[in-house]
Symmetry: D2
């Protein structure tokens, strides 16, 4: 949908045990209050009995204000066991991008934001190196540099956390950030921190995945964007993509081809999250395409 049309909408993500009448109840709620559904994607998993839905409606002339909407959803939640998240098209999420020294994913995110592909404010680029300060400056985004040593690691993370709070950040994106975050930090940002791993997970978990891929002689390489959890490279997958390689591609060439995958997969995952198309269900995601 066009950004303009998008502004005056509400998006509702729902998951719960299936029961009859869920769609009717929620669509009646929209209709009774004068709203118009513009996009609805609902699916019930036969095996698990899980009801999954994304519902977007126009707020043009809607009878309830936002507090009223949320009160009503709270009531449905108690009555029907809904788990839900609600977002408004006019609320631009605030994003912090964490980087180290490689630029390609950062450029991609900043450029897409500039082009209007990503509806968000990138409020800060956060790094343990100063290398990419110029990239942030070029796109008029504040750059926060905290050098990290084994001794300062925890203190820096605490400082980063405070800045994220001050900046009112909604989403943290690890755009090839080469530091492992503490379980406490990860837990604090559960479901709101996205990483790009440079392999087709679950293949080649851990370090140097392109070297691993070359050694194994795979014919296709990949990249995976996922929510970060305490288990490294094990969080819910949001998006993946792949590219063919041949025997003419040495490791250096895999890295080069991989860069293209990484930046695209990460940007697509961020976009899907920002458009509230991603519902986390256990260690899986439901992506409403």
């Amino acid at each position: 949908m066009s950004p303009a049309a998008n502004e005056n909408t509400a998006s509702l993500l729902v998951s719960c045990r299936d029961r009859t009448g869920l769609v009717a109840t929620l669509s009646n709620f929209v209709f009774r209050n004068g709203g118009n559904i513009v996009d609805l994607d609902q699916h019930t998993e036969h095996d698990s009995g899980l009801f999954l839905m994304r519902l977007v409606w126009s707020l043009q002339g809607f009878a309830l204000d936002r507090a009223g909407i949320e009160r009503q959803l709270q009531a449905f939640s108690s009555e029907l066991g809904l788990q839900w998240t609600l977002t408004y098209g006019d609320r631009r999420p605030r994003v912090a991008v964490f980087v180290s020294q490689t630029a390609h994913c950062l450029y991609d995110l900043l450029l897409r934001r500039q082009l209007g592909d990503l509806r968000c404010d990138i409020a800060a680029v956060v790094s343990n190196h100063s290398t990419l300060a110029g990239v942030a400056a070029h796109f008029d985004v504040p750059f926060e540099h905290h050098a990290i040593t084994p001794e300062t690691k925890q203190a820096v993370e605490d400082a980063q956390q405070r800045r994220l709070d001050e900046l009112g950040i909604d989403l943290v994106v690890l755009a090839r950030y080469m530091q492992i975050l503490s379980p406490a930090f990860v837990d604090r940002w559960r479901g709101r921190i996205i990483n790009i791993h440079h392999s087709f997970l679950p293949a080649f978990i851990g370090a140097k995945p392109y070297h691993q891929a070359w050694e194994r002689g795979v014919k296709i390489i990949g990249a995976t964007a996922h929510y970060v959890t305490a288990d490294l490279d094990q969080g819910p997958i949001i998006e993946q993509d792949v590219a063919r390689v041949s025997h003419r591609d040495d490791v250096e060439e895999l890295v080069r081809k991989g860069r293209d995958l990484e930046r695209q997969v990460l940007s697509r995952a961020v976009r899907l999250h920002l458009e509230r198309r991603v519902l986390i269900s256990g260690n899986r995601t439901i992506v409403f395409g």
Copy 2:
């Protein structure tokens, strides 16, 4: 969904001018009568103002019989301007496959039907040659052979039409059938006759598309499945796919690679049609994936 679970469902395809309350009205209808929606995919085109929906519900314990359901939908239609088609999961569509002398698409359809991928009965293989009689026989499908000459062409088509009626055919699939059908025949089967064209339409309309593709030096070839209309290769597209080619591929090799595309694209299009995921809107299709 599993075939078993699929049996006792109704699928509704709807298109109409958008207005508020359409989802509420239809989901209430299902709910009030004791049905349970298992899959709902709705989208309103912002530019055209067109409301498009696919709704599948379980008929387990549904209060209305089929006549009752249709009466109610008829009422909605008058009241709200709905255009709708309704199908039941326990009604296996009856398909006739038209072929000439090439086997790959025919095998693919027959094999997938046998594996349970295509929920239909293939009631006849119809051909202007006897070449593929053995293939039909191997899969226990009746084979109808009508030799065609310029003089007999119309008479044969009339005979084919009568047989399709006798057999109660719902869908005609042209699986590399090398005869042009008359406008009257095409009109009679509007929206129920699928062809495979061996190019990425609208590129390379007409004869010998692989030769055209080689001459033009494209780096990717394609195949396109579409509903047949009176304008050759111009009907609504259902599905397309592509494959990379290199300078080592001569025309013969493009033909070989193309065969793989043709059979897959045709089978996917037939499957989408059989599952009632395809809604025709003007000269475009809406495919609920």
Copy 3:
């Protein structure tokens, strides 16, 4: 190249330590004896220093007979340390296809052989079940059925081995054969036995890969054709391909989508092997595309 043109050619695969003059020596050999090179693909791996080449030349008016050619290559081998294999376009490899009860890969191989896509003779379909006897019969290929119990397993394998010898088999294809072959058998067929694994290796090694893929929530599934070694699912990879999946796809649907991948990946790998485009180098393959 067209099958006809292909007939009167020799194909040479070479790997060795790189040194200057290798291409000159081998192309001179062809030229001096009146041959004409029609396809040459050579690459030296910078890191490993490995020289890799596929050379196809026309035997039209070639001065040496086959014994002469091989003597000369033997001489190069002693002198330059070449490892080589040589095949002739008019020699159709003899293939045995091992199957259990699933038909899709078997149909694909038999159909492609019939269409002329696979230049080989399929000399036997070998199975531990009688289920697919009719498929082999339809394509006029002998079917060998040996029921297997834990007690007879070794004896059956010995009998199979004898039959492969009697039939002069060059290549064994495991087309969803659900028995683990003994190390001795695998060793005997090293580099001449191809398996299809229903995942994107090295992800989801072992049993029920589609269930594993669903549990992990991957967004793309794959299939992998590889040479069989004593380590299950660890042999050199020949070909892989992938397909997107969504949350609407349950395990059953992954299996269905996977079937398409399996048959195509296996058939492509067999074709690459038959055209002598695959060179095994340690646990990797070099595929001359």
Copy 4:
């Protein structure tokens, strides 16, 4: 290959009527003078009888200097009818990028140059608008702005031509440049000017291809990089790629998805050209992958 190893090499592209001994003659030439072939890709088109080859050799310790190499190739040319181009790994081609007001392709080229993916000097960004001056400045590339009116169009083109000469430009890249160049200009840069067209050519030639694609209801969109000729959108195709679209994608969304294709396809085509992997043969290209 790594950039370092690449420096001290020569790359030869050859096309001519096929005859026996061509590979032997050229590889002997390299060998006799102490060179080492590191990559050779040769193919003879069976139907046209065209011999096509890319040969890369290491100049480490090569007996001839560059003038000597070229004299020898000239001699082969007279004797054998070779058409050839020769380039050296240590010679960085000089590129001018023409843009109007859209930034995505320009960023992609500049970023890849910075990352070392494109081995070239981008000597100027040339534009009929000043919009993208800041992008060029960020990457330290001179920006040349010439406003164009119908009256000044020819004079501007003449001035651009003079600047390209002064700057010693080897390749002109039209990165969404929204002006039609004169036949004289195009002719002057024949084979050295690359354009990106935002459709899967030959589908949707001309203006507003994404609108055309939406109207036609295609399920896949594409982008095409090609050498520019006097016939608009008709020059030899270098590279193409595609992306799936659905009914949820309006024209604006096709444009967004298309941007990703455009920048990647253009950058890949430029890279292929810079690595001298592209041989123009009539209105087709041979791309040595």
